[in-house]
């Protein structure tokens, strides 16, 4: 659906995107996660043709679209929301109905009721969370085939977030909606995303389906007689080992069965257990491997 190939962008002397590639498929939810300031919003703005890349390609349905012809099919909710001055939600719906041929008033009214939003209230008087809901209602009511949601759940309370995910999942299932979403709420993304791209310092450092990521990277707890010395094998990579009491906790990427076999061959294993990691743990591990957030805090 949306494919980015080797996109590069510099702001004066600062290289923000250093050749990123990603692929969001039709009817799937793509989670774009990353460290602060890694360029997530910049990626969104390139897809929406707000920024122009220095090099690389952006394809929509395998066709490079340099102008905004494909905007009919995409609804973008930006992190920093804007609503035209003095508009209420109903006014904005009316205005956007002129822009999107697919705008559904049934869906709009339904969502307004579901989120208990007052359509006649001036948007500028709403709280940050309410504004996010208003933007989300319009995004869903637009009935476009793709949604681009930048930090959409930021500022929403837990109840509303639950409602939000419910609506989003329902739309994806019912009408094969494609969603590209960025968020720091990784636990929640874990449950809904089909695919994740981890962006760090202008690079997509990992991009895979959630299943593959979880399958590939596991946390293994084991206890052995004697001391553990690192093992090496092309089939796997030990990312991190920590010792708590007599139990070792290792994060292993690759063939965990081979790791287990090697462990049993080389050591007298007293305890062995494989645990699935969640997205947040994978994120921390991946970026930790790149030296992000490994600093020790020394309280002087």
């Amino acid at each position: 659906m949306i494919k980015i190939i080797e996109l590069k962008k510099s702001f004066d002397t600062s290289h923000v995107l250093k050749g990123i590639s990603l692929h969001a498929e039709k009817g799937k939810i793509y989670g774009l996660v990353g460290s602060n300031g890694c360029g997530k919003t910049t990626v969104f703005k390139h897809i929406m043709n707000i920024y122009k890349g220095d090099s690389g390609q952006i394809l929509y349905n395998d066709t490079e679209v340099p102008n905004n012809e494909y905007m009919n099919h995409i609804y973008y909710v930006q992190d920093d929301l804007f609503f035209p001055t003095n508009y209420c939600l109903d006014d904005l719906f009316e205005y956007e109905s002129m822009l999107y041929n697919t705008m559904s008033s049934d869906k709009y009214n339904n969502l307004k009721t579901f989120f208990k939003m007052d359509g006649s209230k001036k948007l500028r008087t709403l709280s940050k969370g309410q504004k996010k809901q208003a933007a989300f209602i319009l995004a869903i009511a637009s009935m476009t085939e793709t949604l681009m949601l930048d930090e959409i759940v930021d500022g929403l309370d837990a109840v509303i977030r639950k409602k939000f995910w419910k609506v989003l999942m329902s739309e994806v299932i019912d009408r094969e909606l494609t969603v590209v979403i960025s968020s720091h709420a990784l636990t929640e993304l874990d449950n809904i995303c089909d695919k994740v791209g981890i962006l760090h310092e202008g690079h997509i450092v990992r991009e895979d389906s959630i299943e593959t990521l979880k399958e590939e990277t596991k946390r293994i707890q084991f206890a052995i007689k004697g001391e553990f010395e690192s093992m090496e094998n092309e089939a796997y990579e030990i990312l991190k080992v920590t010792l708590v009491g007599k139990v070792h906790f290792a994060v292993v990427r690759g063939d965990s069965d081979q790791f287990r076999d090697d462990l049993y061959v080389q050591y007298d294993v007293l305890l062995y257990d494989e645990l699935h990691m969640n997205l947040e743990e994978i994120f921390v591990t991946e970026l930790g491997g790149l030296g992000y957030g490994n600093e020790e805090y020394i309280n002087e």
Binding site: N68, Q78, Y95, M98, L99
Partner: protein, 579 residues
């Protein structure tokens, strides 16, 4: 086809929506116009005149500029820009919509003002012809400037800058030519610039002012060309705009440097106009120092940083070198012909005046000497030197001025040689004030020139040149003294009597007074006959016996004189006429 229709319907709907959003502005504009164009004249108990309509047009201008800037404000706020750009209504369509809606808004109110003007039979065509063209150009310029800027206030200033850009270009040329004229004696920057503006860089055409009085198809051609150029620049700017620079003052680095460089010339230029200094080295040094400082200050403001980038310094350096080199090269090339004085045998006639403009006797038009050819001289019976003696004296004067243009008071002398081969050579001299070390040779030449037969014809053609006077119709004299203020139409005989009386007094005056450079050549309008002081005698004190006359040809004032007490013949004639 269906997609196209849908798109057009969408655009139409959005346009109507956008127009409806302007209803508050429309009401406000209507109230302002009603108050200033209709109610104010009523309160002041005057009729609605051209001035009130012009004021209304100016108000529409302000409203449209403000509206355009507000409508294009989305280009200066990343939140708004992100919102509108993400919608299936492209940026260019949105810009078109803003332009069309504002054009309709302007047309509505301009239409109202036009109807009022026509209903009252007012002469307002030029206001609407020029005003409509300006409005179109300014709306497009607002779009262009808004794209070039990352901030709405700067966009407003950039609109003014871009609109005035042709004037800035003239300023740059003027400054360069001014320095050239300081290098070369006898070259006048005003004459050169006048020629450029009249014949090459026609500002009045560019700004449509020319068509205010003489509407033609060319008006639409020029307007269309102007609009097309601005529109093309706007499309190019839109395509190449770096939207990540929204929030900065200027989004295009090149444009930022261009503004800074323009100001780096304009400020030294304005500074130089305040000084009476004709030393080109001083001007060039002050240009380099003041220009660099202005450039730095302009960039500090535009970049919101006190640090200059290396490229900015390099650009300034290259620009300064190029500008100074071009000016010096031009100056020294022109200097090669500085000492060229035509031979007497080559000269057909010489026109001299203390001004580089001339008031024509026919219709009282005030035109540059540059525009007057020998055919005009003959047709308008303008007084010129044609005797060999005068030609030789003027050539001597020319050579002497090249050697040393310093005199004992400030004055100017314009010399135009009309050559026998049909060409002409114009020179202009600024005579500087040097109390002691002035060019004394000039005094002798002036005295010799004044002793020629032609001199009086040239200074007082109304009295001494019948064919010049014959071009005038309905000659009248307006007489102002302590006791009366009358305007009297003269018969042909009375005109001749009047001339005879004045000539007798001029003879007396010339015999007792050496005018020097001040009375050299054709005098445009006012002539003052100073008191004659001879030993203890003091003639011509007009404080108690004040008499001032103006000679009119129809509705045009041709000459005015202060008539001193020793102009007894003239005074007697005036007294008789008054009685």
């Amino acid at each position: 086809m269906e997609t196209k229709n849908t798109s057009m319907n969408k655009s139409k709907q959005l346009l109507i929506h956008h127009l409806l959003e302007k209803k508050n502005w429309a009401v406000l504009t209507l109230i302002v116009l009603v108050i200033t164009v209709v109610i104010l004249p009523m309160l002041m108990d005057t009729d609605i005149s051209e001035e009130y309509i012009a004021m209304g047009v100016a108000e529409v201008f302000i409203v449209i500029i403000v509206n355009c800037l507000i409508d294009f404000n989305y280009l200066h706020d990343s939140k708004k820009y992100g919102y509108y750009l993400s919608k299936p209504h492209s940026n260019i369509k949105r810009i078109h919509m803003v332009l069309v809606s504002n054009a309709l808004f302007a047309a509505f109110f301009m239409g109202i003002l036009l109807i009022i003007g026509l209903a009252l039979d007012l002469h307002i065509s030029e206001v609407f012809i020029v005003g409509s063209g300006w409005l179109m150009m300014i709306m497009l310029l607002t779009a262009l400037s808004s794209l070039l800027s990352g901030n709405t206030i700067i966009a407003g200033l950039a609109t003014a800058f871009n609109f005035a850009l042709p004037l800035f270009v003239i300023g740059v040329m003027y400054f360069a030519m001014d320095i050239v004229s300081d290098i070369v004696i006898g070259i006048n920057v005003d004459i050169i610039m006048d020629y450029i503006v009249q014949n090459i860089y026609k500002l009045e055409v560019l700004y449509l002012i020319e068509f205010g009085y003489d509407m033609s198809i060319l008006y639409f051609v020029v307007l269309a060309c102007n609009c097309l150029v601005i529109y093309a620049l706007m499309r190019w700017t839109l395509k190449h705009r770096k939207n990540e620079r929204i929030g900065e003052h200027i989004t295009f680095t090149g444009y930022k440097y261009f503004i800074a460089l323009m100001f780096s010339i304009m400020v030294p230029f304005l500074f130089s106009t305040t000084l009476y200094n004709h030393d080109y080295t001083t001007k060039l040094i002050s240009f380099v120092i003041l220009g660099s400082l202005t450039y730095y200050v302009a960039l500090v403001i535009l970049e919101k940083s006190f640090r200059l980038q290396k490229v900015a310094i390099k650009l300034l350096g290259v620009f300064m070198i190029v500008f100074v080199s071009v000016v010096l090269a031009s100056g020294f090339m022109v200097k090669l012909v500085e000492k060229n004085v035509p031979e007497v045998a080559e000269i057909e006639a010489i026109f001299i005046s203390s001004s580089n403009h001339i008031r024509l006797p026919e219709d009282n038009d005030y035109v540059s000497l540059r525009e007057i050819d020998f055919e005009d001289i003959e047709r308008l019976k303008l007084p010129v030197y044609q005797s060999d003696k005068a030609k030789q004296l003027v050539s001597d004067l020319h050579r002497s001025l090249i050697d040393n243009p310093n005199y004992n008071y400030y004055t100017n002398i314009s010399i135009v040689y009309y050559l026998k081969n049909g060409s002409k050579i114009a020179r202009y001299f600024d005579l500087g004030y040097y109390r002691k070390d002035y060019n004394t040779e000039l005094d002798g030449i002036f005295a010799d020139l004044m002793s020629t037969e032609e001199h009086k014809k040239i200074v007082y053609p109304f009295f001494y040149k019948d064919d010049y006077r014959d071009l005038m119709k309905n000659i009248s004299i307006e007489m102002n003294s302590k006791s009366y203020n009358e305007k009297v139409y003269l018969s042909k005989t009375e005109v001749e009597q009047f001339s005879f009386a004045v000539k007798q007094d001029i003879d007396y005056y010339s015999a007792h007074k050496n005018d020097g450079a001040i009375m050299i050549g054709y005098q445009n309008n006012y002539i003052n006959f100073p008191p004659i002081i001879s030993g203890d005698d003091y003639e011509g004190d007009t404080a108690n016996d004040y008499l001032y006359i103006e000679i009119w040809s129809g509705d045009n004032r041709i000459k005015s004189f202060d008539i001193p007490g020793y102009f007894t013949h003239t005074r007697t004639f005036i007294e008789d006429l008054n009685q």
